[in-house]
Symmetry: C2
Subunit: 316 residues, 2 copies
Amino acid sequence: MIVALAGGVGGARLAVGLAAVLRPAQLSVVVNTGDDFEHLGLHVSPDLDTVMYTLAGVNNPETGWGRRDESWQFMTALKELGGSDWFNLGDRDLAVHVLRTEALRAGSTLSEVTAMLARRLGVRHALLPMSDAPVRTRVITAKGELAFQDYFVRERCRPRVQGFRFAGSRAARPAPALQALMQSGRISGLVLCPSNPFVSVAPILAVPGIRAWLRRRDFPVVAVSPIVGGAALKGPAAKMMRELKLDASAAGIARHYGGLVDGWVIDHADAKLQTTIEKMGRGVLVTDTIMRSPAYSARLAATLVAYVRRLAAERR
Amino acid sequence: MIVALAGGVGGARLAVGLAAVLRPAQLSVVVNTGDDFEHLGLHVSPDLDTVMYTLAGVNNPETGWGRRDESWQFMTALKELGGSDWFNLGDRDLAVHVLRTEALRAGSTLSEVTAMLARRLGVRHALLPMSDAPVRTRVITAKGELAFQDYFVRERCRPRVQGFRFAGSRAARPAPALQALMQSGRISGLVLCPSNPFVSVAPILAVPGIRAWLRRRDFPVVAVSPIVGGAALKGPAAKMMRELKLDASAAGIARHYGGLVDGWVIDHADAKLQTTIEKMGRGVLVTDTIMRSPAYSARLAATLVAYVRRLAAERR
């Protein structure tokens, strides 16, 4: 069993690749819910939906969020009525938010709702929220502390970042299926997807028990750098690193994670950083990491799985 | 000030006519909320929406509910996800349900939400729910007691009707603006729209205080028969009357309301019933009552307003 920790687009693309090379019994994708929020009375789980839609093949590849072949009549009517229109909800996408919200209000857990929705969309691999409890990423900026979506969508990542806070994380527990995996002794490796380290991976690691579990692990952790050639492929990761006075490069990312990661997968564009990262005591594998299509994702996933197995063999 | 009591389609059509011949300060439309229900976690107010959309000119004239130029991507996605699909919610229509539900959850009253939505849709005349408290029409049938929408939409009015119950009515109070009107002494007449007497008008009359107010009134009540030529123009009114062993005719309707109505407006098709109704001690005016278009509605409304004024003058 391989566990992948994923945020939005980068996580979704790698999840598709991993799902192509691993059977359902061999893969569990654990998704960040720190960017979940209540909007218009609806519970929206942006990262879970991006990964779910992508695994189901119904995602919108242009935007990186929402569904393909989407229409916007709801938003048009909402604007006419003076409703809040800074966060776009497509007509088809709405069905997920409405069903999720209804089920949560009726007492279902986020894990249960996610499993139900994913199953109905034809997703066969396990898709798990990091926790059933609300953990909400707060971005501390020069303009004050902002809820994640206010920072990300409303403010378009413009405010200068000073730090992060994961409200609710102290009281959270890993989702039951994740807890079961953590206690199973059946994990052969963990993959950190090329997701934002601060707002996609950090919220997962902030759930009590997860970091300790990784510290005492008997399996390798491999990671794909979300920074390639000094830039994030998607989103504000590089901008955040610069604002936090970190080195916005694959090496800076490796330094940030430290001993949490055993092996780094970096892009050919960053081949010159291999020695720097190896000097930190980490393994490095240089390959194509840009997932231009599901075929690229599957190739990268196969490389990762082979790397996990090699590192696991070296441990024995 | 004229007050109109309205249900769905018939009420909406007459409301449009009244709004065409009366200024905003001269008309308040009080709408049945007995068919409101919670669906998919959303508060749906079918009659309020039908009247609001019709007054705003954005109604769907074919269906009698929902908005014109509607699309159904939400329902398509909902069905794919295995969601409950017996009640259709259009993509544009959804904006109203989502905003209303959000505002109600945030503590607004149904009156406040209705006023806000109507204003934003450009409705200038007062549109009032009968009550801000939940009153839920239950239909007692040969198949047992059914929630109104289960009877009306899910069962398509097939079960044989034995009676009605308005759950919550005992604890309800008229909406604040309606209470203010009731105490104002400024009412010059009340119009019973051609709405279903059992499931549109009766829930309004079941709100404590309204029937007593009408009993001690100093203004005339005029009504338009919802039954023309022995048939309801829309909906199950005639079927219900037959099942309740009532005379499914304009005369049967007049008998049903008794002294609550001073003057009846019946269609030329029912001219032969004039004497029967007059023998009950009620006034009768025979005219065209079928509202084929807003122009017909306005003509009927003008006739009604003149009739109200004549009856009011006769009282003095």
